[in-house]
Symmetry: C2
Subunit: 478 residues, 2 copies
């Protein structure tokens, strides 16, 4: 008989949220650390989660007319430097290749921190006329930014993402695209990940390097910190001018085209963990969970139990569900804890007494509630419960967002909220970067976004008191 | 009226095969060159082809129990050096990162040329007991090898691939896995890509750096050169010893586990091009083609034509086919040439006369043959023709392989074949590396593999005349 490895305890969220997070990513077997700081290994469970995210998002990108490409990993130093704002934003945090094949390179290459300049170089090759526009491209890859402090998923030197890059004949079309893809992210976050979002526009100081405008979806974590979860950038024709990308329009006149880019990364996995997890570990939304249902035979040595569990799994799979049978030799109690740690949304228990009564036991990961269902209606019962769990997770996250969103009319009030409760603080803001900086100095909070859903909280800036009709979100950030 | 871009001519294969290849990859819009030598851009059409390859292979990997992971991009110099043979093979051709975030690194990092050492470091963390074995992992990523001469797909500094890495409790199990995955590659190449393969074992001098044994699938291109199209390596316990990976077996004794790795890359796209293409451009096997059927309306301005073409596309899509409607304003002739260049297996033409007669015209890319089908039976006719094309491509490639495979009993005979006909040369071989080297010097051909399907061609080595019962394939290689 094999010795039974105990499922180890994790730190409670209220005791130390950061340690709870670290415990979960390790003990749910999401990541392992490599010997290069800030570079992690996505283990099979995290990778399966990322594959589900990829499959869903990739489908949404293709439905909106986008095509995948793969760009090179390397950017020559001179190419990175072509757009002034862009290089200022990224050059300080890139990794440099100086030698290849045993010889020093004539020009340093950086590992892409993002691929705008590579797309621009390519556009210049392939775009001549209005007939070549738009190009609606996306790539799935990893990028490298040499961060000083790192945390798995949230901030790492290498991370996996998709970066969409599009180029259009008109400013209006590019602006539409920028918002269309922000909405794709918002829909995906809410419908697939059960993560409610605040959609809005970044302030000038928080814009992507080289962008005219950056839009964001901001999420609220369980510890009251904000997570920027996806961004969409409008570049105007700035990159086109820097890279001399031009096309002849229908009147045979040379024009500069307009560009966008938009990205969502494995950081979102950190968001899923911190939105839904509890003191027993991960909780994964059913629509994105690698394993939606785990079937655990109880008293598996008794005649018929294992066969019945296998048959049930086969039926659930045939119904289109992602199912795992845990027929290992650990005790049911160990298995319950293990799959709770891994956040499997629904557990099905099946033992001799259940078989005798032609039923199975269903346990929801989020509430811990158990119920029975007739064995011959298991598919329907399981599918319905998964939908309920998905809806409950979104509701709970919405409640968390609502309860952690505060309103402040003065800097002092805002400072008090920041110190005592965290979360989002909504205020009016005059639009001046000096006020934004002062708010950060006094409260520690940075601007999150100017939300599309504006609320009339007053008519004066929280900081300087100037007249304004602009409302903004602030928060501590990951 | 827009000016019509002519489909440009490509070099004929018989005139200059290398130039034909370069023309095809550019003009079928598979790749674009970046400003970094040897690093190309996979354009949407090539990427869609690669995605189909990925989807099929990934499914085969999962069916055989493998899980995907993602490993870091970087390998510290000290980690690369842990296995002596491995570092000797790869260190001369890696790219080195020396600076990150504006500072010199304390230890150089190379961009992974392959990930054995990263997997080994991870295995050492996660494997303690027999219960942790086997681990059957795969990753999809790009790797970097600083090649001196480069050609798109065939030899590039960055290329995309999958690398499988597995670790097992016993030698036998690892050996089985090595051959299982070679067979997966062979099945995939023949069934999906219509590329017949020679399966066999590499000679000692051609083994992967650090492997006890390397198996390969070798394909014959249309110009008589061989293409190594997928390899599977058995490592014994050499890496486990170098990285101190140990597990306690069921008797509580410490043991070293056994490893494999296996890879197939975007090089296979070069293989598809050079196996099936003709002087009009690409020919893609239907099972893997991004577009299986292009529907081209003829006299599209005539009433009903465009609507009928759209309706036909919808029906073909509903039948599970990958369909494109080309409703652009170019002439049908231009479109025919364009989709021939891109290798779309089947073209459907639909004009007013066809509609009047309730039929459509079907043109096969490989033969150029046209036939008509009743419009209301288009799905069946199209699906059947695609199967026929797939089978014909495999037959044609088999014929090419057979016609380009020769037998030689002496070095002089072999030299003559090498100079006049190329292709594969089958001979007997004593197994001595010195003979292998002499054959290469005299004929220019390198050993391809010792095939599993041995044939009794004689009983003496083609080079030294020593007694032997081993048969080997030789060839010029890409």
């Amino acid at each position: 008989m094999a010795t039974e490895k105990k499922v180890e305890q994790i730190t409670a969220r209220d005791v130390d949220f950061a340690q709870w997070y670290t415990d979960v990513v390790k003990k749910a077997e999401l990541i392992d650390y490599s010997s290069v700081k800030g570079c992690v290994i996505l283990r099979p469970y995290a990778h399966a989660l990322w594959e589900n995210i990829q499959r869903t998002l990739d489908g949404m990108f293709k439905e909106t007319g986008h095509e995948n490409v793969s760009m090179p990993l390397f950017i020559p130093e001179s190419l990175l430097q072509k757009e002034k704002d862009h290089v200022e934003g990224f050059a300080p945090e890139v990794a440099w290749i100086t030698h290849g094949g045993g010889e020093p390179l004539t020009e340093r290459l950086c590992v892409r921190p993002t691929s705008e300049v590579l797309f621009c170089e390519h556009y210049a090759h392939i775009i001549q006329s209005w007939r070549d526009l738009p190009k609606l491209y996306n790539q799935w890859c990893s990028v490298v930014r040499w961060e000083k402090t790192t945390r798995p998923f949230l901030r790492s030197r290498e991370f996996w993402w998709q970066e969409g890059h599009t180029i259009h004949a008109t400013r209006e079309e590019a602006e539409e695209e920028t918002l269309r893809m922000l909405n794709v992210y918002a829909t995906f976050a809410e419908e697939s990940l059960a993560m409610p979002v605040i959609k809005g526009q970044k302030t000038a100081s928080e814009r992507f390097a080289g962008a005219e405008n950056t839009y964001t979806i901001e999420c609220m974590m369980h510890d009251g910190q904000a997570l920027q979860s996806g961004t969409s950038h409008f570049f105007g024709d700035g990159f086109a001018r820097a890279f001399n990308i031009q096309f002849t329009d229908r009147n045979n006149t040379l024009q500069y085209p307009f560009q966008t880019s938009w990205g969502l990364s494995t950081r979102i996995i950190g968001g899923i963990i911190m939105t839904h997890g509890d003191d027993n570990g991960l909780i994964l939304p059913p629509r994105i969970a690698p394993v939606q249902v785990v079937v655990i035979p109880v008293a598996a040595h008794k005649p018929g139990v294992l066969d019945a569990a296998r048959a049930l799994c086969a039926r659930l799979r045939a119904a289109g569900l992602r199912v795992r049978l845990d027929d290992g030799d650990q005790s049911p109690g160990w298995k319950f804890a293990e799959h709770e740690m891994k956040g499997v949304p629904l557990r099905v228990e099946l033992g001799p007494r259940d078989l005798a009564e032609n039923r199975c036991v269903l346990a929801c990961r989020d509430t811990g509630a158990k119920q029975t269902a007739p064995l011959d209606q298991a598919e329907t019962a399981v599918a319905a419960l998964l939908e309920e769990i998905q809806a409950r997770l979104l509701d709970a996250a919405r409640t968390n967002l609502r309860e952690r969103t505060h309103t402040a009319a003065s800097l002092e009030e805002m400072r008090h909220i920041a110190q005592t409760r965290g979360g989002f603080v909504k205020t009016m803001w005059c639009g001046d970067g000096a006020c934004e900086e002062k708010v950060r100095e006094v409260t520690g909070m940075k601007s999150r976004c100017i939300p599309f859903a504006q609320e009339p909280l007053g008519d004066t800036c929280v900081c300087c008191g100037a007249k304004t009709d602009t409302m903004i979100y602030w928060g501590f950030q990951y």
